[in-house]
């Protein structure tokens, strides 16, 4: 393991690929790897890319990374696709849209199956981000599974969250509902050459209270560029138009990303976000540990008979929880 970790820190692709597999497959391996690598993390800028299925997340990532690579930066990409709840298998197809990035030694792409997690990421995604961070990638882009309204885990894992919409995905009520739009640091209306793009942009801007609608549109950007704000000032969420298949609007998107990075540093939001992210991560690990401890402390027969009783409407779920907790406590004390 130690040799492998050293090779990962040197950025060796085979070692990175192998370590990711181990971390995905085994919580014990993840613990060991992250304990060793954690001191070497914290340098990469983590960018989340989310949005509904078919909005063009992979295509935007492809075009954005090509643009970012014009600067001298290395980019790691984690592309998450859903695991079948029925067979446990997965079809990971994000590479299909990222073919322009192959052959570029400064880009590493890893497809990941969600393996039962519901928040749009896989359980191991946070660890994989750290592996790529420790391996020296300047940016880590995380593309979530096609997200609907509630898959907001990415906001806790990323420094900058890009939410991608496409025209014609619903009326204005959709844009004022709670959920995924609220986590955006940058909003992108992709497929902006399609009919209805104006309307989508207008309703997003309405949601953001960004002043007058229907502003003049030029070269991919329609709202005024966000300005790097003074200490503590709020971030103005830009609404950008892109046509990712033609790489239109990518310079503006890369620029907005850079401005958001600068904003996070200057406003102190970086520290705040890192602290929130750390808490979420510790909290999740705590939950897993508590659950494992609890399961080990309650005889399976008792759990089974209680569940049967709940299913047969003889015991209510709350009473079942009380009884399980009592049993668990007495077992641990005894």
């Amino acid at each position: 393991m130690n040799d492998l970790l050293e090779q990962v820190r040197q950025g060796q692709i085979r070692a990175i690929a192998r370590l990711i597999t181990r971390v995905e497959n085994s919580p014990a391996a993840a613990e060991q790897a992250i304990q060793a690598l954690y001191p070497h993390t914290g340098k990469a800028h983590v960018v989340g890319v989310t949005g509904s299925p078919g909005a063009g997340k992979s295509t935007v990532v492809n075009a954005l990374v090509k643009t970012l690579r014009q600067q001298d930066v290395r980019v790691g990409i984690i592309a998450v696709d859903p695991t079948s709840p029925f067979t446990g298998g997965a079809l990971l197809g994000d590479r299909v849209r990222m073919r322009d990035l192959s052959g570029d030694p400064g880009v590493y792409i890893r497809s990941m199956a969600s393996r039962g997690s519901l928040g749009g990421l896989a359980r191991a995604t946070a660890s994989v981000i750290k592996i790529l961070d420790a391996a020296g990638f300047d940016y880590v882009l995380v593309e979530t599974v096609g997200a609907g309204q509630a898959e907001v885990d990415i906001a806790n894992a990323a420094h900058t969250t890009i939410v991608i919409e496409a025209p014609g995905m619903g009326d204005e009520i959709q844009s004022i509902k709670a959920g995924i739009l609220e986590i955006a640091d940058i909003l992108v209306v992709n497929k902006a050459d399609r009919p209805g793009a104006d309307r989508t942009v207008r309703s997003l801007k309405m949601m953001l209270h960004l002043g007058p609608v229907g502003g003049t549109r030029q070269s991919g950007r329609i709202s005024s560029p966000p300005t790097a704000s003074q200490n503590g000032a709020a971030w103005n969420i830009p609404v950008l138009e892109t046509v990712a298949t033609e790489e239109k609007g990518m310079a503006a998107l890369a620029e907005a990303l850079g401005q958001h990075m600068a904003h996070l540093r200057q406003s102190g939001d970086w520290v705040k976000r890192e602290k929130e992210r750390s808490w979420r991560e510790v909290e999740m690990l705590l939950q897993e540990r508590f659950m494992a401890q609890f399961q080990a402390s309650v005889p399976p027969e008792l759990r089974d008979s209680l569940l049967t009783a709940v299913a047969e409407r003889k015991v209510d779920p709350y009473t079942a929880v009380h009884q399980l907790l009592e049993k668990s406590e007495s077992k641990r004390k005894g």
Partner: protein
């Protein structure tokens, strides 16, 4: 609670545009409980091997209908060797004339599946190549 899942790369090297076979196999492997990385059409041998390396693939499946399987496979085999990846099983589907089979096998292609191959046969081959189906799994 360790859960290893086979990661299978399905690629279509070469210039023919018929990816139905590759998609059907990818879908069937997904349904058999594997994680399938699908790379799409018109992959160069370099792209296939790079993807297998980055994805830490347990096996590589190639679909080739163009008749160019000999030079494509040869190049892929060479690249796998150059990357110390000869331990990754390579299997092939498509239109492969019988006389080419012995040569391909000699190069290290472990499974060759023509138009008559059944999906069960392909799935069983892959489980075997990656170290067996998980206990209790009916593949």
């Amino acid at each position: 609670m360790d859960q290893a899942k086979p990661r299978i790369l399905i690629a279509k090297p070469g210039l023919d545009g018929h990816d139905r076979g590759a998609k059907v196999v990818a879908r069937a492997l997904r349904d058999a409980g594997m994680e399938v990385i699908y790379t799409g059409l018109r992959q160069t041998p370099e792209m296939v091997v790079e993807a297998a390396l980055q994805e830490d693939a347990d096996a590589i499946g190639l679909s080739i209908l163009s008749g160019a399987h000999m030079p494509l496979v040869q190049r892929i085999v060479d690249l796998l060797a150059a990357n110390q990846m000869t331990d990754v099983p390579l299997f092939l589907g498509g239109i492969i004339p019988n006389e080419d089979v012995p040569v391909l096998k000699e190069w290290g292609v472990t499974g060759i599946f023509g138009p008559g191959a059944s999906m069960d046969e392909i799935i069983a081959f892959i489980w075997d190549a990656v170290g067996g189906a998980p206990a209790g799994d009916v593949a």
